[in-house]
Every structure is written in structure tokens, then in C-alpha cells.
């Protein structure tokens, strides 16, 4: 079984895609079964991932000198875009990194699909939703399983498209449609950078598959490698919502909450991290690029954490938290600790998916996203509250939950590379503990301030929460295992860092707990106390307005100008002019065709005469005569 | 005939004029004979007071018609109206010239004589149409149309029946056909002769195929407006047609002069002709007139298949000869 799955790894891509197609085409007739049927898609991925993981664990990683991280347990490719040249090989290769990602994608997707049964039960677009989820699963799997940057890029763009479609899932809401467009366009900026990177790579190395690229990188000049790495990082930053391309992710919360859990917390946004990890040899050869990654990562982590402090929408809190945590990962990447980054990616996928699904459960129960209208849900929704507490503690970095271990590794690595960045990350950790405590307090403690009757969802909603709570609690202990799977040695806990981060975490929790002991009343207190700073934070430093002033409005103005002048006047004018001219010529010519057969016959005979004369006359002789007698040439 | 191509045809032209005269005279006797036979059939005597056996009766009629006023209706297309009878008559007179009257001799001895005999009288259809049309009279026009339709239709079985003779003799030259004639042609070509005879009666617009001039429906058909000498020419054409068809049939189907040598043979030929003429008169006065659709059905569904059958029979037999 495992052999078949691994040696035919493409099944993990094709099978969800086929499910997506089948559901899209025939789903409306079997609406009830669609969700259950869809689960086969992530199940395939999960099965492949688990099979790959066990095979990787069994294989002898030591002494492997190939270009992959660990010996690939499944590989295959076919030639594509054949022409005069060899074409491009596109295929799959499963090594430890891919195996981990497959498990994450498969598991989270499965949980999200299960959760969605309850969350989306009454939505008329259910079938479309599940078709898109299947398509997303296929795309994400293609992204992680590809054996080269071509396949990765195809998957990359497909997940972007799925993200666009799912953010705008409730397209009748103008805000959702706008958010979808914003997400699509913003990530497009990053994708253009990435495509440029691929082009430079192709130009300089003539290869795009990982083994060929990695073996060619040492031969390149440092400048070239730095350029490639930075361009790839632009793509990664776009996808992973790093400053300054982070603006789309908060708006992406317009999509259904399970989608936020899957795409905008656990998997797709982590694709940027995965990309850097995957192409690590390139970044390894470009230290300057690493500095940029580190700087942007640390800055994003801190800035996003501050913004999260002031959000009142529970999903916005989580969105900025995601940006912040992704910043942690990038900081780790920039510090060269890509294993730590991947470790944090996995734990973050677990607890952030849990938190999102938990928020989904809360939103489902309380029918609002505003935390000021919640409160006291601990008694009303105990399972959700319990799992949320586990997730938030993991996020805050309370030992022994997952987040603590991975964050500790990240901070330790960054600290050893750049103390300034390390301090920034510690500050971010403090703020993280604070804002998640604030959210927890506002949501689950105190008294209920809303007007609805919050209640726990069905088993399909709490089972995923419980299932995700398990890795969120325990994944931290798998650090060594994960590192081994990635072909590296795991690092043991650094006690200094651990003590620092534990202290920071408890400090944040304590401050948060005290500051918000009375729920929304304290919220107002805090707001009043911080004066003008609070709205600034709430508006994310007004960065959106800046972007819209600097980029969006000029583009609109340019578009208007082009539309009015170039398109309307020049192109439309030309096209319509051609049409008008043709019609006028046609009207004129049709006067000749006035239906008189005999006139046609007369013209025919006259034409015959003219032709015969033309043939009969000896033009050469006439020309000769003219040239000799009159000098006409 | 040698050297110039035209001597033969100039001769033929002279003979044609002579033939016309002969036909004209023969018509007089034809009319007399018809009246006698019709009289006997109707249990009366027919003409008897003018000349011996009333022989001069038609001559007297002729004189009367020549002296009668030649009326051209005011609404008629005068030139066409006047020339139409001649166009009907001349081809029939011309057709007689190719008939082989004696061994090795025909007034106009041409290699396409058989075709000539069939082709030239077909021109008279035009005369009939012209007569009917130019009269400016609905009855006449209708009669002309009927006559033309009938004659065109019956041309087909007639031509096919003659074709069987041509097949048997292997020549289009009437003189040669006569030389190739044997007595067993009569039984062998029996169906063909029957078809020829019936369609000839129809070609002449005579009863029971006289739909074009049906008195009870169309007054007198295409020549309703004619009078005097022009009317006489129409009558002459009718009898001329009867005589010409009988001559042709007697010679090429029934053997003509081939039964006996010399003038005696010619006498037998003329006798056979008289027999055929008499048979036609007999038929006219015996059978009731056919309806238009019956007429057409007879041509297309009876006579044409019969003629084709005859050709098939001869086609088979020819292989044995």
C-alpha cells in the first residue's frame, strides 16, 4: 500500500483534483454526501504523508549525500513543454520535508472539512465550497510534492486562485468580493517577483528542478544568488503576508472561518516558509538575503503583534497573530535555523488551526465576530473553551504545550544570530501572550454581553477541535523527531532562552488577565488609557491607507486615463471606424448588386472583352515603342 | 448527286412540290372515300349524285371552299393566322417524298429518310399551335394546346415503333429498308406495327383521338375560326396525314412493293395503303372519343411500353439473324 502510494505520489494530487471536478460537475445532485465524499481527498493526502513519514523514518538518512534533504522515498516525473529542446521535467519527489507538509496539509484539511459540515450546513453554496476545498487540497499537495520549481509554481498559483475564490466565497457581499480582489492582487505582486526569480534561475542555471538547481547554485556568483534568493523571498513574503505585503491577510477573514483555518493559517500562508526551506541551499549561499529575511521577519512579528492588541474582531486578532507568527518563522529562516522554522510551522499549523476552528465555533454559536458582544462563553461552550485554552496557551508559549518548544528554538536561533532581532521576538512573544489572553478573557470569561443564545455545535464541530488539540499540546515533544525527518539533528532546549520566554509568556498572560478582568469595561478603560495610540493600532498603523494612497489611487487614475483616452478614443475609435467604414463600403457596393441579372450578364460580357483585350494586346511591344519613340520608361 | 451536295436536295425540293400536289389530289379522293365508308357504317349511301359514285362531290366542295370568303377574325394575329395552315400542311406533304414507291426508288432518296419522315411532320405541331393561338379564341387556343400535347406525346411511341423496323433492316434509308424486308417481318414486328398504327391515328388528330377538335367541347378546336380555303387546307392536312401514315406503314411495315416485282408490286403497295386508310376511317366512325387523360395514359402507359417491348424482342432476335 505504502509503496504504491509513494511510487505513485501523483495520486495525492490527481485524486483530490478529480474529486473537485466530480463534485463541481455532479455535486448538486448528491448534496448530502458531498462533504463525506470530499474527505477522501485529504485522506489520500494524509495517507500518502503518513506512508512517506514512516518510510522516511525507516530509511537510513545518515550518509546521504544527495541533493534532497533525505533520500526521496518516492519519485517520478515526465517531460513537459516539449519542443525543439528537451523540455521541462515536471514530477514529484517525496522526502522528509514533503512528508511533513503532506501530513500537515492532509490532517488540517480533513479536520476543516469535518468542521465545515456543521459550520456550512445551511449554506446554499455548499457544493461549490467543497469542490473548492478539494481543489485547494490538490493544489497545495502539488505545491509541496513537486520535484521542481515549475510544479511548485503551478501549485503556488492554484492555491492563490483557490484562496481568491474562497475569500470571495460569499461574493454577494461587496466587502468579501473586494477582499478577494485585494488578496489576489497583493499576492500577485509577490508572484511576479517569484516568477522573475524563476526566470533568472532558468537563465543562469538552465534548470528548475531542485536537484539541478542545488547542484548549480555553488557555481553562481554571490550577486546572482542573492538576487534569486531575494526574488524568491518576495514571492514567499507575498504568500505568507510579510511586511509590506501583509495587508491582504486581515481582509481575507471575509471568507468562511474554516477556510481561514485551513488556507490563511495552517497551510497556504505557510507556503512561503516552505518555499524558503525547500530552496534553502539558495538562501544558504546568499547571506545578505538572509539578513533581509531576518529583518523583515522580526519586524513583521513585532508589528503585527502590536496591531493584534487592539483588534475587536476575534478573527482579525487571529489574522494578525498569524502574520506575527509567520514573522517568527521567517526570522528563524533568516537566522539560518530553517529546521526551527519548519518546527514552528508545524506546531503553529496545529494550534492556529485549532484557534481558528475554535473561533469559528464561537462565531457559529454567538453569531457575531465582535468580542465585545461575547463573554462568559466558558460555561455555554465548554468544549470549545477548553480546546481554545489549550490553543491559546500553546500560542502564548506556555510549557509544555507545542508553541513553547518551537518558539523557544526560534528565539534561541535568532538570538544567537542577532540579539536585536531576538529581543524584538521576545517583545513580540510578550505581546502575543497579552493579546491572546485579552481575546480569551473577552470571549470566554466574565458575563455574556450578546443577545443570542450561544451553544456548542454538533459533534462534527467539536471532534476536530479535540483532534487538533492533541498535536497542539503534544507536537512540541516531537521536535527531535521532526529534525531527524528533515535530515538534521535536533537541538536540545536552551535553558536561558527557555527561562526568558517562559517569563515573558507568564508576564503577558498575567498582565492581560489583570487588565481585562472585567471584560469589555476594561477594554474601554484600556482604550481610554492609551488615548490616541489605540485607534492607530486598530487601523494597523494606517498602512492600508498609505498603500491605497501611494499605489491604488494612482493606478486607478492611470487606468481611468488609459480607458478614456487610449481605449475609448484610440482603440474603440479605430475598431468602430473600421466597422463604420466597412458598412459604408458595403452599402455603396450593394448598390451595384441591384438584382438585375442582365446587368450582371452585360458586365460579364464586358469583362470578357476587357480581359481578352488585355491578353491580346502586345504590351511588351507597346512599351518598347513608347520607350524608343517617346523616351518613356 | 456526285460533286455537289445540293443537286439531290434540289431534286428533292421539286419532288416535294410534286408530292404536295399529289397529296392534295389524293386528299380529295380520301375525303370522298371517307364519306362513302362513313355512310356505309351509318347505313346510308354517302355522296352519290355528283359524278359517278359521287366522286366529284369533293371536287365540287373544293370549288365551293375556294370561292368562299376567307375570313380573318378581327382579334386574330393576322399574318400568323394566315400562314398557320400552310405550316401544318407543308411538312406533311414533304414527308410523303421519302416513301419508296417502287423498287429502289423514292422521290427523295436520303440516307436519313426514316428520321425525315418522323421529324418533318412534327413541324406541323407548330402550325397547330400557331393556328390555335393566333385565332385569339379560348376554344382554339385550348384545342391547339391539346393538339400539341397529344402530338408530342404520340411522337414517342411512333418513333420507337419505327425504330424497330430500322433495327431489323439495319438502315435509315427507306429504299434499303424495303430491300431488306422479308415477309416474316410482319409477325415479328406485329406489336410495332400496332403501336405505329394507333399512334399514327393519334398524330393525325383523328377519332377516337380527336380531342383537339372535339366538336362537343371545343367547337372545332384549333381551326374553329378558319373558313374557306384555309379551312380546306386543314382538312387536307388531316387527310394528307392519314394517307402519308398509311403509305409509310404499308411500305415499311407491311412490305409494300416487296410482295411482287415491278409495277405490280407498286399496285399491291397502293392497295395496302387503301386498306390502311379504310381501317383508319373505320376506327374513327366506330370508337367513341377518348378523354384527355385516357389519351395521355394510352400514349405513355400502354403504347410506349409496348414499343419498348417490341424493340427488346427485335434486339433479341437480331442476334439470331
Amino acid at each position: 500500500m505504502s509503496n504504491v502510494l509513494l511510487s505513485n505520489g501523483w495520486i495525492a494530487v490527481v485524486s483530490p483534483a478529480l474529486f473537485a471536478l466530480a463534485i463541481g460537475l455532479f455535486g448538486t445532485r448528491t448534496r448530502t454526501f458531498v462533504p463525506w465524499l470530499s474527505m477522501f481527498a485529504p485522506l489520500t493526502v494524509l495517507a500518502t504523508g503518513i506512508a512517506a513519514l514512516s518510510a522516511t523514518a525507516a530509511s537510513e538518512a545518515a550518509g546521504y549525500t544527495g541533493t534532497y534533504l533525505t533520500p526521496p522515498v518516492g519519485e517520478g516525473s515526465l517531460r513537459w513543454l516539449l519542443g525543439a529542446t528537451e523540455g521541462i521535467r515536471i514530477g514529484f519527489a517525496i522526502d522528509g520535508l514533503t512528508a511533513l507538509m503532506l501530513v500537515v496539509v492532509g490532517f488540517v484539511a480533513l479536520m476543516v472539512m469535518l468542521f465545515s459540515i456543521g459550520y456550512m450546513a445551511d449554506d446554499p453554496g455548499l457544493v461549490r465550497y467543497y469542490a473548492l476545498l478539494c481543489l485547494f487540497t490538490a493544489s497545495m499537495t502539488l505545491l509541496v510534492i513537486a520535484d521542481g520549481l515549475v510544479g511548485l509554481f503551478v501549485g503556488w498559483e492554484l492555491v492563490g486562485a483557490c484562496s481568491y475564490l474562497l475569500i470571495g466565497f460569499w461574493f454577494h457581499k461587496p466587502s468579501a468580493a473586494a477582499a478577494a480582489i485585494k488578496a489576489f492582487l497583493t499576492t500577485r505582486v509577490g508572484d511576479v517577483g517569484m516568477l522573475l526569480g524563476l526566470a533568472v534561475l532558468w537563465q543562469t542555471t538552465g534548470a528548475l528542478s531542485y536537484p539541478d538547481v542545488f547542484s548549480a547554485v555553488p557555481g553562481l556568483s554571490t550577486g546572482t544568488v542573492t538576487l534569486i534568493a531575494l526574488l524568491l523571498f518576495v514571492g514567499a513574503a507575498g504568500k505568507s503576508a510579510q511586511f509590506p505585503l501583509h495587508i491582504w491577510l486581515p481582509d481575507a477573514m471575509e471568507g468562511p472561518t474554516p477556510v481561514s483555518a485551513l488556507i490563511h493559517a495552517a497551510t497556504m500562508v505557510a507556503a512561503g516558509v516552505f518555499l524558503v526551506a525547500r530552496t534553502w541551499p539558495v538562501f544558504e549561499a546568499a547571506p545578505n538575503a538572509q539578513v533581509v529575511v531576518l529583518a523583515i521577519g522580526a519586524f513583521t512579528a513585532l508589528a503585527a503583534a502590536t496591531i493584534a492588541l487592539a483588534q475587536t474582531d476575534i478573527k482579525k486578532v487571529l489574522a494578525y497573530s498569524t502574520i506575527s507568527q509567520l514573522g517568527f518563522m521567517f526570522a528563524a529562516l533568516g537566522a539560518g535555523a530553517w529546521v526551527a522554522a519548519m518546527f514552528h510551522l508545524i506546531t503553529h499549523a496545529a494550534f492556529k488551526a485549532l484557534l481558528f476552528l475554535g473561533s469559528g465555533s464561537v462565531i457559529h454559536g454567538a453569531e457575531t465576530q465582535d468580542m465585545r458582544e461575547m463573554g462568559g462563553l466558558l460555561k455555554l461552550m465548554p468544549i470549545t473553551a477548553a480546546t481554545w485554552l489549550i490553543g491559546s496557551a500553546a500560542l502564548a508559549g506556555i510549557p509544555p504545550l507545542a508553541g513553547f518548544w518551537s518558539k523557544d528554538e526560534v528565539i534561541h536561533a535568532v538570538m544567537s544570530r542577532s540579539p536585536l532581532a531576538g529581543v524584538a521576538l521576545l517583545a513580540a512573544s510578550l505581546l502575543t501572550a497579552f493579546y491572546i489572553t485579552r481575546a480569551t478573557r473577552l470571549t470566554f470569561f466574565g458575563s455574556y454581553r450578546g443577545t443570542h443564545h450561544p451553544h456548542e455545535g454538533g459533534w462534527v464541530m467539536w471532534v476536530p477541535l479535540v483532534a487538533l488539540a492533541v498535536p497542539a499540546s503534544l507536537a512540541g515533544f516531537a521536535g527531535h523527531k521532526i529534525a531527524e525527518t528533515l535530515g538534521e539533528r535536533g537541538e536540545s532546549l536552551d535553558f536561558t532562552t527557555a527561562a526568558l520566554s517562559i517569563g515573558v509568556a507568564f508576564l503577558g498572560v498575567a498582565v492581560g488577565w489583570i487588565a481585562y478582568r472585567d471584560g469589555v469595561v476594561s477594554e474601554l478603560d484600556v482604550e481610554a488609557r492609551f488615548g490616541r495610540a489605540w485607534p492607530v493600532l486598530r487601523n494597523a498603523y494606517g498602512f492600508d491607507g498609505l498603500v491605497s494612497a501611494v499605489v491604488v489611487r494612482p493606478v486607478y487614475a492611470l487606468s481611468d486615463w488609459l480607458y478614456n483616452l487610449v481605449d475609448r478614443k484610440i482603440f474603440d475609435g479605430a475598431a468602430e471606424g473600421v466597422g463604420t467604414l466597412t458598412r459604408k463600403i458595403g452599402t455603396g457596393m450593394s448598390r451595384i448588386q441591384y438584382g438585375d441579372t442582365q446587368w450582371y450578364a452585360t458586365l460579364l460580357a464586358a469583362g470578357f472583352v476587357v480581359l481578352a483585350v488585355l491578353v491580346a494586346v502586345d504590351w511588351a511591344m507597346i512599351a518598347q515603342w513608347l520607350s524608343t519613340n517617346l523616351g518613356v520608361r | 448527286m456526285s460533286g455537289s451536295v445540293f443537286t439531290g436536295y434540289t431534286g428533292g425540293l421539286i419532288w416535294g412540290l410534286g408530292g404536295g400536289l399529289v397529296i392534295a389530289i389524293a386528299t380529295l379522293f380520301g375525303v370522298w372515300w371517307e364519306r362513302k365508308v362513313a355512310g356505309r357504317i351509318q347505313m346510308r349511301l354517302g355522296p352519290q349524285t355528283t359524278g359517278p359514285f359521287g366522286l366529284l362531290q369533293t371536287v365540287a366542295d373544293m370549288v365551293k371552299l375556294l370561292l368562299k370568303e376567307d375570313i380573318t377574325p378581327t382579334q386574330a394575329d393576322a399574318p400568323v393566322f394566315r400562314v398557320a395552315p400552310l405550316i401544318v400542311f407543308v411538312p406533311i406533304a414533304m414527308a410523303v417524298t421519302v416513301i419508296p414507291f417502287a423498287a429502289g426508288w423514292a422521290p427523295l432518296d436520303t440516307s436519313v429518310g426514316m428520321l425525315f419522315f418522323l421529324a418533318v411532320p412534327s413541324v406541323s405541331v407548330i402550325g397547330i399551335l400557331m393556328a390555335g393561338w393566333s385565332s385569339g379564341n379560348s376554344y382554339a387556343t385550348l384545342g391547339g394546346l391539346r393538339g400539341a400535347a397529344q402530338m408530342i406525346s404520340y411522337e414517342l411511341p411512333r418513333t420507337l415503333s419505327v425504330l424497330s423496323v430500322v433495327l431489323l433492316a439495319g438502315s435509315l434509308r427507306p429504299v434499303e429498308v424495303m430491300e431488306a424486308w422479308r415477309w416474316w417481318f410482319i409477325p415479328l414486328n406485329g406489336i410495332g406495327f400496332l403501336v405505329y398504327f394507333i399512334s399514327s391515328v393519334a398524330e393525325c388528330n383523328r377519332g377516337p383521338f380527336d380531342i383537339p377538335e372535339a366538336e362537343s367541347e371545343l367547337v372545332a378546336g384549333y381551326f374553329a375560326d378558319y373558313s374557306g380555303i384555309r379551312w380546306a387546307i386543314f382538312m387536307m392536312s388531316e387527310y394528307g396525314g392519314v394517307i402519308a401514315a398509311s403509305l409509310f406503314g404499308a411500305a415499311l411495315f407491311l412490305g409494300g412493293w416487296a410482295w411482287a416485282p415491278g409495277l405490280f408490286g407498286t399496285a399491291i403497295f397502293l392497295l395496302l395503303t387503301v386498306v390502311l386508310v379504310t381501317a383508319m376511317i373505320w376506327i374513327k366512325w366506330t370508337f367513341p372519343r377518348m378523354r384527355m387523360d385516357q389519351l395521355m395514359n394510352t400514349a405513355w402507359k400502354v403504347l410506349t411500353p409496348m414499343a419498348l417491348l417490341q424493340i427488346a424482342i427485335i434486339g433479341v432476335v437480331i442476334a439470331w439473324l
Binding site: 438584382g595 438585375d596 442582365q598 460580357a605 | -
Partner: protein, 103 residues
Amino acid sequence: MSLVYVALALFCIGLYGTLTRRDIIAVLASVEVMLGGATVLLVGLSATSNLAGVSTPPGETSGVGLVILVLAAAEASVGLALMLAVARRLNTTRIDELDEVSG
């Protein structure tokens, strides 16, 4: 040479009639005149010319003429049938009134 003149004169007279006549029947008759002129020329030249010392076998002259004759007869009958159909359906035989395809 007189033959060529006469035959072509016939052809061009027919052409003139074809181009000018307003009634379909007259047009058809004019076409017949054109065709007759052409046939006369063809048969005449075939029967009398011995270009380059080679003359047409006598049978083939008539054969060609016969082919033309039969073709023309078929053409005339189909043409007349068409004309009748047109006259019956559109209630006119004037060719200038048959301008359904005019632009």
C-alpha cells in the same frame, strides 16, 4: 470566313437579345439563338476546316453536333420548366422584377 462572320453575328445578336429582353421566354429564345450560332460555327468548322491538313472524321462532326443538340434540348426544357415555376410562384415573367437578391 463568311461562315465565321455569319455565325458570330448570330451569336452576338443572341447576346444582345439576352442582355436586353425583359421577358424570360424571350431571354431563353435569345440564348437559343446564341447557342445556335455557336453550334453552326462549331459544326461548320468541324465539317469544313482541315487545319494543318487534318480534318475531323465525318462521324465525329455530327456526333459533336448531336451532343450539343441534346445538351441544348435538356437545357431548354429545364429552363422552361424553371420559367414556368417562377411564373406560377411569383406571378411574373419579367426578369427585372425577379430581384430578390438585390442589395
